[in-house]
């Protein structure tokens, strides 16, 4: 049997009819010619004669085209739905409206897809909020890239980054030329009395120039001046929250005396809440007093408790600063062999010191949620592929109305990106609530943890993730949906076309990918839980159950010497021992495992 369809289609080509109309005409003509062939054959003509006669009729293509041209309309050059050709945004608006209507018309599909996407995008936004606050956001200091932390290098003793002693710090500061300024600080707690309820405050002794080195300006008042870095000077800086909480935010607090550890300190300034000194200890300083080394302390090279920050001069690089500090440390080792032999100096960027230990875990976590998003993408792509099978008729009709396949692919992509954007908006809501829970699990001393929030950068990230996600899960179904046989699809039985088989293969591939990714996550989560269980079961060398700990700071005024302090703690231990339910009592400088190298 001759292939009439191909012959007719070739003759109609120049008319450029809309595909569905062309398909109808081809079908109708070919039926007619097939019937003619059959009739001529049964009438006694040979097949060749019948064929020739029919093609003679058909070859009246000039007549055919002329007559059809009078009746039929050409397919528009572009556009699925009416729209001005070449106007991207006009098309985009139409695509968005159409996509929105399609999503609203299929609430079941839309809700399932949006939930899957919201979970994936929300998890990514939440973790990115943490990454953004801790890793990406610059430290709240002036030119933070110029700030470095200085450590003593006592690797031979097991302390590659040891806290410097006062005498070494003072020598470093005196001898170095690569730094604009160098400052030290040490933890110290205070008992605030005389203004309502007594309160224990976390604070620090700091070099007078510390806030100049950091570039921090006070909210009110001033920071310390060099003359105040002397023993006996009783001045204090408050942080904003303490100022508001205990002094009602009264500016008149400047110049007022407050009682700390039984001594009157004059308030000289209030610092903003962003001031947090980089340290391994507590971040929530509420008061600062001058370091003010007594001469005995200033000469000490054996007591290592300071933390040192310096600001490099603009042209100075880290290796250059390190080289100079190596020279200075070597010189000090020669001068003070008893304490400084094999003691070097280490210069580290401040940002690395603060967030370095969080970098790997956070990036791993970000990778994990990216996998979760990929699984969501695979799920939604599967849903879209399944729906594409149902929508073949609709897509065929739109092709028939004059859409070219690129235009249709674009429209389907806009639809998937729209779906993803809706998922992104819901995901942002989930991220907002999720962050409240997440931040509770972030250790208290992690730098900038309390600045975790959904800011413009997180919104941009979410938008980008949503768009990329939409493209990822939409591209395959969109390209697959527009590759099927239009004629076959328009027929009643044309559903199981080649595209259907391709769709099944794609869906199977997506499921395989999903299982593979899930397996990776499952193994990762399993290993994490295993490590956690091991940590929980680790024997610290003492029984940690049924133990209570209490921090006590004694006033240096009331308890100025070791004798009185020892007596105080002995008395505390004796009295606590007599309390019901107490089996034993002990007093220690630091709790076990709380300070590196000191347990």
């Amino acid at each position: 049997m001759p292939d009439f369809k191909a012959e007719i289609r070739a003759r109609l080509a120049e008319l450029r009819l809309p595909p569905v109309r062309e398909a109808e005409i081809v079908e109708e003509f070919s039926q007619h010619l097939t019937d003619q062939l059959r009739r001529r054959s049964t009438g006694g003509a040979s097949e060749e004669e019948a064929r020739q006669a029919i093609f003679q009729d058909l070859n009246a293509s000039e007549l055919l085209n002329r007559e059809l041209k009078r009746v039929e309309r050409r397919a528009p050059a572009n556009a699925v739905i009416p729209g001005r050709e070449g106007k991207l945004f006009a098309d985009l608006g139409q695509d968005l409206r159409f996509g929105l209507r399609t999503l609203i018309k299929n609430p079941g599909f839309t809700i399932v897809a949006v939930i899957a996407l919201a979970l994936g995008i929300g998890a990514n936004s939440a973790i990115f909020s943490v990454v953004n606050a801790i890793l990406l956001r610059p430290l709240p200091y002036k030119s933070p890239d110029q700030l470095v932390v200085l450590w003593e290098n006592a690797t031979h003793l097991g302390f590659p980054k040891d806290t410097p002693s006062p005498a070494n710090f003072l020598d470093w500061r005196k001898q170095s030329t690569v730094f604009e300024g160098m400052a030290a600080f040490a933890e110290r707690s205070f008992n605030l009395t005389g203004v309502g309820e007594p309160e224990r405050l976390d604070g620090r002794r700091v070099s007078a120039n510390l806030f100049d080195v950091l570039g921090v300006k006070p909210i009110i008042g001033r920071t310390f001046v060099a003359q105040e870095d002397q023993p006996g000077t009783k001045v204090v800086l408050l942080n904003e929250s303490l100022w508001k909480r205990r002094f009602g935010g009264d500016p008149a607090v400047i110049g007022r005396a407050v009682n700390l550890n039984g001594e009157p300190y004059t308030v000289v300034g209030v610092l903003p809440p962003t001031v947090r000194l980089p340290t391994s200890g507590n971040w929530r300083d509420q008061v600062w007093v001058p370091l003010a080394f007594p001469s005995e302390e200033a000469a000490s090279r054996g007591a290592h408790y300071l933390e040192v920050i310096a600001r490099m001069k603009p042209a100075v690089t880290l290796p250059k600063a390190q080289a100079e500090m190596d020279t200075i440390a070597a010189r000090l080792a020669q001068q003070y062999p008893a304490t400084n032999t094999r003691i070097g100096a280490v210069v580290k960027p401040l940002h690395e010191e603060i967030v370095g230990k969080m970098k790997s875990p956070l990036l791993i976590l970000l990778g994990a949620v990216a996998f979760v998003l990929l699984i969501a993408c695979a799920n939604v792509a599967n849903l879209l592929l399944a729906r594409a099978a149902v929508r073949q008729k609709e897509i065929a009709l739109r092709l028939a109305l004059g859409a070219n396949r690129m235009r249709l692919t674009k429209q389907l992509l806009v639809e998937s990106v729209l779906l993803s954007l809706v998922g992104g908006v819901v995901g942002l809501g989930l991220a907002y609530f999720g962050l409240n829970v997440l931040t509770r699990f972030i250790p208290h001393d992690v730098a900038q943890a309390d600045t975790i929030t959904i800011d413009a950068k997180v919104l941009l990230f979410t938008l980008a993730v949503a768009v990329i996600t939409g493209l990822i899960f939409g591209l395959v179904p969109a390209s697959q949906a527009s590759h099927f046989n239009l004629n076959e699809t328009l027929k009643e039985g044309g559903r199981d076309s080649g595209a259907g088989a391709r769709g099944k293969r794609l869906r199977n591939s997506l499921v395989i990918a999903e299982v593979a990714i899930s397996f990776i996550l499952l193994v990762g989560a399993g290993l994490l839980i295993n490590s956690f269980v091991h940590l929980r079961n680790l024997d610290p060398g003492f029984r940690a159950d049924h133990l209570l700990a209490l921090n006590v700071d004694l006033s240096e005024v009331k308890y100025p010497d070791t004798q009185r302090r020892t007596t105080f703690f002995a008395e505390v231990a004796r009295r606590v021992q007599t309390l019901p339910g107490v089996r034993s009592v002990a007093v220690a400088g630091n709790l076990p495992l709380t300070i590196n190298g000191d347990s």
């Binding site: 003509f29 293509s61 000039e62 009078r70 009746v71 039929e72």
Partner: protein, 124 residues
């Protein structure tokens, strides 16, 4: 090159052929669809059969004519699938088509009567 719209076996000249087709082709199709829907091949066959082979439509002219009539809303085509058969496009007469059929039938009758009068005069 011009190809005949439809062939009238006994017509003498192409000009007369063309003029006659204009008046008759639409009328023939509308008439055949007056009482029942028919598909294109059936319409072509019936025209050939009832004219005893004197009138035969070319496939390249029959269908454009059907489409034109459909566009004028005189007939309406619809794909119909009967059990055990491939689907076919059946055309039926619309109410506008029925009015047009009556009008054309009347016009054609007047024309034929006029021709008869003329030819009768010639023989008188």
């Amino acid at each position: 090159m011009s190809v005949p719209y439809m062939s009238l076996t006994y017509m003498a000249t192409p000009v007369l052929d063309r003029e006659l087709k204009k008046g008759s082709a639409e009328l023939m199709i509308l008439s055949l669809l007056e009482y029942r829907p028919r598909h294109g091949y059936e319409i072509g066959q019936l025209i050939e059969l009832r004219s005893r082979g004197a009138v035969r439509f070319n496939v390249a002219s029959l269908y454009p004519l059907l489409y034109r009539l459909e566009k004028r809303n005189w007939i309406r085509g619809r794909w119909i699938e009967k059990s055990g058969q491939r689907r076919r496009r059946y055309y039926r007469l619309t109410s506008a088509g029925k009015k047009m059929l009556a009008k054309q039938r009347h016009g054609w009758a007047e024309f034929v009567a006029a021709v008869k009068l003329i030819t009768a005069t010639q023989h008188a």
